[in-house]
Symmetry: C2
Subunit: 238 residues, 2 copies
């Protein structure tokens, strides 16, 4: 049965990990929404988004909607798993209940909210979706290092690190500041490239920025061969 | 006379304009600091940073430090005016009083806080400086337009718009998403470039994002010849 009034899906950026990095806006909407949707990991450990949410709300007083996001490459399984996520979010919306979907950092920058809300709006064009901007880990990293990202006419690039060395080099030679995200899997290659370009001393690395588990390295040489967390950022002021 | 304990200078990003886009962390530090430093415009109109601060604190209960930032190109006048700003901020810090310096958006991305804190630390290496990340207008613009900036391996560039057409074109042909800031003074040139690259329909423009005076344009053709506010952003998903 469809309610007269549809609920609203709020995509709340709750910041990079420190609960205090949530905005007043996201906090108000989080507390008001009857349904809390959050990314659920298979292996027990909590997402930062849920940790931040639990700092402010009692899960037992909400309809808690743990969403398992697809990790498979099988297109048919992928489609089916995404569909399950969309259906789970649409059910309360259709019943007139607002859903606060919490997401680390900002909801429109490398977030599961992007794909999920796109699918939802394709299937239910009448859906009401409101993203609320949040503090990205990129900026929290700059603050942690007291590192200005750009001033005046300087440019900044945000780049998911890949094995494409030509592309990574082009980013470093074009911009005044490059923020590489998801660097763990290609760290040694990036370190080689920095060495080649004489930029090793201009780089810093941080992981789990602003959380209790934050680690910062100002000497990136120490990291060769290291096994770092997925949420690792490398910032270079060229 | 120097106090035993130096005060701390907090560089608080208070978000792009909407008072609710301040973080819980910046709000706490803003309320606790005895001294509030803010950019003061010569011509009476309030900065967004001050407007946000006044939403939460009573200026009469603070030591209010309105800072007039240099606008001159005369190097000697420039140096003297910056020195006056640094001296004004150092005085309470030296007397052991914390200073909350409020700044629009994020304090380490195109903010007067960058140059001011750099000068302060050069002259007073013992100064205690703590930047607190904020929501940049870039992300508030994405939220206002419900426009995903990047997902997967996509890259983003943040680019102050200039007359350098070759550079502007390179940004548009290299990145999946380009966010041009300070576009007012070169808007028509940017529109020409978008037309040339077939990107006119992929661009949106917003000004005074998230404030009461926010304006959004999804058809950028309407803007040719327009006299827009300094704080205008053009986002292109290429």
């Amino acid at each position: 049965m469809t309610s007269e009034r549809l609920g609203t899906l709020y995509g709340l950026g709750v910041g990079p990990g420190d609960p205090e990095y949530i905005t007043v806006k996201a906090l108000r909407l989080l507390q008001a929404a009857p349904v809390l949707a959050y990314p659920q990991r298979r292996m027990g450990s909590k997402s930062y988004a849920l940790t931040v949410a639990e700092h402010y709300v009692n899960l037992e007083e909400k309809e808690a909607l743990g969403l398992v996001f697809p990790m498979t490459r099988d297109p048919e399984v992928l489609r089916r798993q995404w569909q399950a996520v969309v259906d789970a979010v649409w059910a309360p919306l259709q019943a007139g209940r607002d859903v606060a979907f919490v997401t680390e950092g900002d909801p429109l920058l490398y977030s599961t909210f992007i794909h999920m809300s796109r699918l939802l709006m394709q299937q239910h064009p009448e859906a009401r979706v409101v993203p609320v901007a949040g503090v990205s880990s990129v900026f929290a990293a700059a603050a942690a290092f007291q590192l200005p990202l750009a001033d005046g006419d300087e440019t900044v690039a945000i780049v998911p690190a890949t094995h494409d060395r030509t592309k990574m080099r082009a980013m470093l030679t074009t911009h005044d500041c490059v923020i590489f995200i998801k660097v763990a899997k290609v760290l040694d290659e990036l370190l080689d490239l920095l060495e080649e370009l004489g930029l090793t001393d201009k780089a810093v690395v941080g992981t789990r920025i602003s959380s209790d588990e934050q680690l910062l390295w100002r000497d990136v040489r120490a990291l060769r061969g290291a096994d770092l967390n997925y949420l690792t950022i490398l910032v270079v002021r060229t």
